[in-house]
């Protein structure tokens, strides 16, 4: 375990030695941002919309009390979405989609000697391949989390009004009440942390793949498992430290 962690730290250090020119790094980062960001919009949209809808319906079911105003449902959907569901669930979804893609891609490059080909040319393969992924994830994850927040709250609105759990006015009153702007900051800080963990852990697992196709599959699975565990631990640590 400690050996792996040490290897991970050395790997992270190697990303920042002998980096490519800013122009190459910029172009590669844009490519990776498209791969990580644009290609993930659909799944993030679907997941967050339904999570918001389900949250609204379930909160409504649990708050069936005449003494509690219905607008509380909107308030709770907003708080749960911003504080936890949007950053954490989105990141877990992205750990599955982006993490496995990063690990699988790098693992395949490793076993087909494409990484060796870069090294023979005198290129720092870790920096050339991984650093743009890391920067792209740090840029794109917060944007996806903001999208997830918006769609989740919108999903709650649609579900709440369609099922007559509450009126549109009650929902809007709820999501506007007692708003704490710091919660948005907290969610974005979490998304940065999760982006770093998912992209770096998946890259690490993929980069050190050896063997054949079976090992590439195993590396992808391990990357996702480790990333999800890291995200959940980091989620707890962030909540303890920042709230």
């Amino acid at each position: 375990m400690l050996q792996h962690f040490g290897k991970y730290l050395l790997f992270m250090t190697s990303l920042f030695t002998r980096t490519e020119s800013p122009r190459i790094l910029f172009n590669r980062t844009i490519d990776e941002a498209i791969l990580i960001g644009i290609n993930s919009i659909f799944i993030v949209a679907i997941v967050s919309t339904f999570i918001g809808a389900v949250t609204c319906v379930q909160v409504s079911y649990n708050l069936n009390n005449a003494f509690i105003p219905r607008s509380t449902i909107g308030f709770m959907v907003r708080e749960m979405t911003i504080l936890e569901l949007a950053p954490t669930i989105t990141s877990i979804v992205l750990a599955g989609k982006v993490g496995s893609s990063i690990a699988g891609g790098l693992g395949t490059m490793q076993i087909t000697e494409q990484v060796d080909a870069l090294e023979v040319m005198g290129i720092n393969s870790a920096s050339y391949l991984v650093l743009p992924k890391l920067i792209a994830a740090l840029l794109v994850f917060p944007l996806l989390v903001i999208l997830a927040m918006f769609l989740s709250i919108a999903g709650g609105y649609v579900a709440g009004t369609v099922t007559n759990a509450l009126t549109a006015q009650e929902y809007i009153t709820g999501i506007r009440g007692d708003f704490v702007p710091y919660n948005i900051t907290f969610a974005l800080i979490k998304s940065f942390v999760f982006a770093f963990l998912i992209s770096s852990i998946s890259s690490f697992r993929g980069y050190y793949t050896s063997g054949g196709a079976l090992e590439v599959g195993a590396a992808s699975t391990t990357a996702v498992t480790n990333s999800v565990i890291a995200v959940l631990i980091a989620d707890f640590v962030c909540a303890q430290l920042l709230l």
Binding site: R18, E113, D116, E119, M121
Partner: protein, 254 residues
């Protein structure tokens, strides 16, 4: 010229290379010959710096490479072209982008010049019209050709080929061998080819180093390899019935 001195490499408790020394001459096709698992590819990777030897040194035209300063090693690496066993083409790039890649990364030349150089290299390996093809659309032989084009694109001084014939039919293998030899002589570069193919030995083996269980057992040329008195080498050469028959004919004629 590439010189290696007393190269040792161990993985766990398995000794893969055991004190190998030798000289690989410029303008000649130098072969590393041996059965599978004798350490040929590991030796090649030690020479190009992909694997760090436990002991020993490598020098490129008198410049010490192993454990030298990073910038000196980088400078030497920029003169190295390598053809990998699996071709190692970047599968997200077209043939043109693959060949242009080292020029883009290493050579400071305008885009037009880069494109001219790519077209020249592709023409040299007989793939004039393959610029826009993806690696997945190429046959094994074509992939090797693109690999060679990519290796020679930045005007390499040293060419390394790791089993260039693996997975190819005998005719295509001969063409690839011929191409490697032609390029070596035309550009006067130092070429090292890892192989276990006796056809390659006969066709292009200007200088041959035979490895057995991590040790250098024999060194010579294709002209005297059939007359060697090393039992392990003879066992390797004459495992093939065709070679045994050739030997009988040669002895009959003698």
């Amino acid at each position: 010229m590439i010189e290696i001195h007393n190269i040792h490499k161990t993985f766990g408790d398995k000794k893969v290379l055991d004190g190998i020394s030798g000289v690989f001459e410029t303008g000649k096709t130098n072969l590393l010959l041996g059965a599978s698992g004798t350490g040929k590819s590991v030796l090649l990777k030690c020479i190009v710096g992909l694997i760090k030897p436990d002991l020993g040194s490598v020098t490129f035209d008198g410049t010490y490479f192993t454990n030298n300063k990073l910038d000196i090693r980088q400078e030497i690496r920029r003169k190295i072209g390598m053809l990998f066993q699996s071709s190692a083409l970047f599968d997200s790039m077209t043939v043109e982008e693959n060949v242009m890649f080292p020029l883009k990364m290493l050579a400071k030349m305008p885009k037009d010049e880069r494109l001219d150089r790519v077209n020249f290299c592709l023409k040299r390996v007989g793939l004039e019209n393959a610029n826009k093809k993806m690696p997945s659309e190429l046959s094994g032989g074509m992939k090797k050709r693109v690999g060679i084009a990519r290796a020679i694109a930045p005007d390499c001084t040293y060419l390394f080929c790791d089993e260039p014939n693996s997975g190819l039919d005998p005719l295509t293998a001969l063409k690839i061998d011929g191409l490697i030899k032609e390029i070596t002589e035309e550009y006067n570069i130092t070429t090292i080819v890892v192989t276990h193919d006796m056809n390659s030995v006969i066709e292009i083996g200007d200088k041959i180093m035979f490895l057995y269980e991590g040790k250098k057992l024999w060194e010579g040329t294709r002209d005297n390899i059939l007359d060697s008195d090393v039992p392990e080498l003879n066992e390797f050469i004459f495992a093939n019935r065709l070679m045994r028959d050739a030997k009988k004919v040669e002895e009959g004629e003698a």
